[in-house]
C-alpha cells in the first residue's frame, strides 16, 4: 500500500505526458485519481499549503498536521518506533509479567530504577508514550485508508470515459474500412460489447466500453476489510484480557481477579468486567508413549472439568483437551500445561498442624517431569519453616543421583532441603510462591534421603515434622477474551479476498469510432487498453472482439492488432505499451 502519494504534476508519469497530448476525453479516461496524491513533504507538493510562517492559520496547520500524520513516511516512522519502543520491554523486567524482578531492580538500583520507572520502562506496554505511538499509528492507518475507500467508491461508480480522438495511439488498435454506414457500424459494435457485459457509453461517432469493475469492488473490499481489521484488533486491545490460572485436581476457581495467577487486562477492562464463570477440575489424565524412540512423550491430555457460566447457572461437564478450549460467555479457557503438586502435612514445634495441602511444583524438565517447588510455613512456631525441593514422578537412583525416568507417577518421590528462620514474608516485596528467599533462613541438618508417600522428616531441635502425604496433578489454564477475534478473522479473510480480486481482475476499455473519410467510405477504429501493468490476456480478448466486430462489419482484418506503431508516424513519444500502474491498487505497496 503506498501511502506516499505524489501529486500528478510531480509524478514522472508516462501517462501524464500522454494525457497532455491527448484530448480531454482521454485524460478523463485514464487520469490519475481525481484528488491526486499527497506527499509527505509539502515542500515538494505544489498546491499544498507550506508549513512556513504563521500565514497558514489554525486550519492550515491542522491540515498540514493531518497530511503529515497520514503520510506513509510517518506511518513507517511510527512502525519503527513501535518496534524500538518494545525493546526495553524485553530487556527490562516488566510489572505485568515479572513484578518480583521489578521490585528486585528497585532494591538493587534505586536511583536508576526510579528514573526508568518514571519513563514507564517497567511497564512499557502500558506506558502513555507507547500508547501514543500505537494510537498515532492507528490514526495514521485509518486516515490513509478511509479517504482512499471513499475515492474507490467513486471510481467503482464511474461510467466509461469518452473515447479518445485518436484511437490508433492506444496500446491496442485496429482500423478497417466497412461498407456499413458509421451509425450502423457503431450500433453493431455496441451490441457485441454490451452482450459481453461491458459498461457502455456512447457519443457522436464513438462508443466507449469498460469492463472489470469487479477489480474496484475487490479494491473496495480490501480497504473496508483493512479498516475492519484495524478496528477489531483495537477492540480486542481495549476490551479483551488474558489470564492464567493453575488449578489442582479436585479444586475449583472462579474467574475473578483474586483467583487468577496472572491477569493482563485490556485498557478498558476492569475487575468487574470478567465473565463470572467457575471451573472445577475433577480429574486430569495424561498418557505417555511407553515404548520406542518417543518414549515418555505425551500422547494425550484430558482434563475432566465442570463449569458454570455464572453463580446462578448449574454445573456443566466438559472434557478439556489441548487445542479444544472451553468457550464460556465469550471467553476461551485453554489447557496449556500440567504438572504435579505433592501434598504435605507439617506440624510445628508446638505440635499444631500448620500446613496441610498440595503445593504445585513446576516442571523443569520434560522427559521425566522433574519438578521444583517451595513450601512456606511462615507461621510455624517457634520458628518459621521453609522447604525447597524436587518432585520425581518416577524416581530412580542413577549412581547416587536421583532422576525421573518417566513422566507418569510410577514412583513419586520428593527430595527436600529444610530451612528455619524468618521467611521475609511479613514485609518487603512480594515473593514468588515457587521459590524460597533464604536470606533470613538457616539450613537444617536433615538427611537428604528422598521421601516416598507416607514418609516423614523429623526436623532437628523440636522444630516440627513434615509428612509427604501424596500428590495431585494440576493443569494450567489460559483464559483469553478477545471480543474482536471473530471480526478480525473475517476481516482478514475479506482482506485476502479483496486483494485476490483486485489482482486477478483487470479493468479494461474498448473504444470504437466510426467516421466517413474523404473517399466516402466508412472507417472503423477500434482501440483498447487496460488500467494495469499486467495486460496478460487482454491482447487475446481484444483480438477476439476486433474479429467479432469486424466480422459483423463485413470487413477483414489482420488477426494481430497493431500495438503502438504510430509512434514513428507522429514523431511524438507515443503511449507506452502499458499504462502506468493504477494508484488505487492495493498491490506492490
Amino acid at each position: 500500500m503506498t501511502w506516499l502519494r505524489t501529486p500528478p504534476e510531480a509524478k514522472p508519469d508516462a501517462h501524464a505526458a500522454e494525457a497532455a497530448d491527448q484530448d480531454a476525453a482521454a485524460r478523463d479516461g485514464l487520469g490519475a485519481t481525481p484528488e491526486g496524491h499527497r506527499d509527505a513533504a509539502p515542500a515538494t507538493t505544489p498546491g499544498t499549503p507550506r508549513p512556513a510562517g504563521l500565514s497558514l492559520g489554525v486550519v492550515g496547520w491542522l491540515r498540514w498536521f493531518w497530511r503529515q500524520l497520514t503520510s506513509m513516511r510517518t506511518a513507517l516512522i511510527l512502525l519503527f518506533l513501535l518496534a524500538a519502543g518494545s525493546i526495553p520491554g524485553s530487556l527490562l523486567p516488566q510489572v505485568g509479567t515479572n513484578p518480583v524482578s521489578v521490585s528486585q531492580y528497585y532494591s538493587s538500583h534505586p536511583v536508576l530504577a526510579r528514573i526508568l520507572g518514571g519513563l514507564g520502562l517497567f511497564n512499557v506496554f502500558g506506558a502513555p508514550w507507547f500508547a501514543a505511538i500505537y494510537i498515532l499509528l492507528f490514526t495514521s492507518l485509518v486516515g490513509c485508508v478511509l479517504p482512499r475507500t471513499l475515492r474507490l467508491v467513486g471510481s467503482a461508480r464511474q461510467p466509461p470515459p469518452r473515447a479518445p480522438g485518436n484511437l490508433s495511439r492506444l496500446p491496442f488498435a485496429v482500423s478497417y474500412a466497412t461498407p456499413l454506414a458509421p451509425d450502423a457500424a457503431l450500433e453493431s459494435a455496441a451490441k457485441v460489447l454490451s452482450a459481453k457485459r461491458f459498461r457502455m457509453r456512447t457519443g457522436p461517432g464513438w462508443v466507449a466500453a469498460e469492463k472489470g469493475y469487479l477489480r474496484e469492488a475487490g479494491n473496495l473490499l480490501f480497504h473496508i476489510a483493512l479498516l475492519g481489521l484495524l478496528v477489531s484488533i483495537g477492540l480486542g486491545g481495549l476490551f479483551g484480557y488474558k489470564a492464567d490460572r493453575l488449578l489442582v485436581n479436585g479444586t475449583s476457581f472462579a474467574n475473578t481477579v483474586t483467583a487468577l495467577d496472572e491477569f493482563h487486562p485490556g485498557r478498558l477492562v476492569g475487575p468487574d468486567n470478567l465473565q463470572p464463570f467457575t471451573v472445577a477440575l475433577d480429574h486430569f489424565s495424561a498418557s505417555y508413549v511407553t515404548s520406542g524412540t518417543l518414549l515418555g512423550q505425551p500422547a494425550a491430555f484430558n482434563a475432566r472439568i465442570r463449569y458454570s457460566a455464572s453463580p446462578t447457572d448449574r454445573m456443566h461437564s466438559y472434557d478439556l483437551t489441548v487445542n479444544h478450549p472451553l468457550i464460556v460467555d465469550g471467553a476461551r479457557v485453554f489447557l496449556i500445561g500440567h504438572g504435579y503438586a505433592p501434598e504435605f502435612r507439617i506440624t510445628d514445634g508446638t505440635g499444631r498442624v500448620v500446613f496441610d495441602g498440595a503445593v504445585p511444583f513446576i516442571p523443569v524438565e520434560t522427559s521425566g517431569l522433574v519438578s521444583e517447588g517451595a513450601i512456606k510455613v511462615p507461621d510455624a512456631s517457634p520458628q518459621g519453616l521453609g522447604f525447597v525441593g524436587v518432585f520425581l514422578p518416577s524416581a530412580i537412583d542413577v549412581g547416587g543421583r536421583l532422576e525421573s525416568y518417566f513422566p507418569a507417577p510410577d514412583n513419586p518421590m520428593v527430595s527436600l532441603v529444610s530451612y528455619a528462620g524468618n521467611l521475609g514474608m511479613n514485609s518487603g516485596p512480594s515473593q514468588s510462591v515457587y521459590s524460597l528467599d533464604t536470606a533470613g533462613l538457616h539450613e537444617l541438618a536433615v538427611s537428604p534421603k528422598p521421601l516416598a508417600i507416607g514418609q516423614s522428616i523429623k526436623l532437628p531441635n523440636g522444630l516440627g515434622t513434615l509428612t509427604y502425604t501424596g500428590y495431585q496433578q494440576w493443569v494450567s489454564l489460559q483464559i483469553t477474551y478477545d471480543p474482536g477475534q471473530t471480526a478480525a478473522l473475517w476481516s482478514g479473510i475479506a482482506v485476502l479476498a479483496g486483494l485476490l480480486l483486485s489482482f486477478m481482475v483487470r479493468r479494461r476499455r474498448v473504444f470504437v469510432r466510426a467516421s466517413t473519410d474523404e473517399a466516402g467510405s466508412t472507417i472503423v477504429d477500434l482501440g483498447g487498453l487496460t488500467r494495469s501493468d499486467a495486460a496478460g490476456g487482454f491482447e487475446e480478448e481484444f483480438a477476439g472482439l476486433a474479429a467479432e466486430i469486424s466480422g459483423l462489419h463485413e470487413a477483414h482484418i489482420d488477426a494481430s492488432p497493431s500495438t503502438g506503431n504510430d509512434t514513428e508516424e507522429t514523431g511524438r513519444p507515443g503511449p507506452e505499451p502499458h499504462v502506468p500502474s493504477d494508484p488505487e491498487l492495493p498491490t506492490g505497496e
Binding site: 513484578p99 526510579r114 483474586t258 467457575t278 472445577a280
Partner: protein, 213 residues
C-alpha cells in the same frame, strides 16, 4: 495499567495515603511510581493491575471512596468459617462492615494484618464488624496466620472464590489484599486495594460510622 472509568470515585489522598513507607514494599512503590507516571496522579482513583509472575495477582493499588449517592450494593455473604462454623452476614444489619480479602501466603496481607487486628479491637462494640475472607489458602496455614497476628474476628474460607464472585458486578476485590468498607445500609462505601494502613483505614471507618444510617 488499569482504570475503572465506571465508578464515580475519588482518591482520598490525604486521608488514606498510599503505602509509601520508605523501605517497605518496593513493589508497591514501583506501582505507585508507575501509576503516577502513567496517569498523571490526578484526582481520580488510579488502580494499577499487576499481573504477577509469582502466581497470584497482587492487585491494583489505591483507595476508592464512593459518595453516598453512588454506592454499589454489597451482596449478602455466607459461608463456613475457618473454624468450621456456618456464618452468614447480612450486610444491612445496621452495622458498618469491614471486609478483608486475604491469604496467609501474601506478603502485603501479612504486612497489614497487625493494623487490621488492632483496628478490630479498637472498634469492638461500636457497631463496626470485621470479617475476613481467606483466599487460595489451606485452612491450617490460615489458622496459623490468625494465631500469629492475633486476629480476633472470624474469617470465611473461600476455596472456590465464590464470595469474591458474589462481588462481581459490584466492586470486586481487584487483588489480594482488598479491604471493603460497607455502610450501615449495606452499600460499599470504600475499597482499598493493596495494603491498608492503620490510620487510613481508621479514618475511612470513622467517616462511614459517623454517617446517619
Amino acid at each position: 495499567m488499569l482504570r475503572l472509568p465506571h465508578f464515580a470515585s475519588r482518591a482520598v489522598g490525604a486521608a488514606v495515603p498510599l503505602p509509601r513507607r520508605a523501605a517497605a514494599g518496593a513493589l508497591v512503590a514501583a506501582a505507585v511510581v508507575l501509576g503516577a507516571a502513567a496517569c498523571g496522579a490526578g484526582a481520580t482513583a488510579q488502580d494499577t493491575a499487576v499481573g504477577n509472575g509469582s502466581s497470584f495477582v497482587t492487585g491494583s493499588y489505591g483507595t476508592t471512596v464512593f459518595q453516598p449517592g453512588a454506592r454499589p450494593k454489597a451482596p449478602a455473604v455466607a459461608g463456613t468459617t475457618l473454624t468450621g462454623s456456618k456464618f452468614k452476614l447480612s450486610t444491612d444489619s445496621g452495622s458498618v462492615v469491614v471486609m478483608n480479602f486475604w491469604g496467609s501466603w501474601c506478603t502485603p496481607c501479612r504486612e497489614e494484618a497487625p493494623a487490621l487486628g488492632s483496628l478490630a479491637r479498637h472498634f469492638a462494640g461500636t457497631g463496626v464488624r470485621f470479617i475476613g475472607v481467606d483466599i487460595r489458602d489451606d485452612p491450617a496455614s490460615a489458622e496459623a496466620f490468625i494465631r500469629t497476628f492475633r486476629i480476633g474476628y472470624p474469617s470465611l474460607n473461600d476455596p472456590n472464590d465464590l464470595i469474591a464472585l458474589d462481588f462481581s458486578g459490584t466492586v470486586p476485590p481487584a487483588g489480594i489484599p482488598t479491604t471493603l468498607v460497607i455502610d450501615r445500609s449495606g452499600r460499599i462505601a470504600a475499597r482499598i486495594v493493596g495494603q491498608a494502613s492503620y490510620s487510613g483505614l481508621k479514618a475511612l471507618i470513622k467517616d462511614v460510622k459517623a454517617e446517619r444510617g
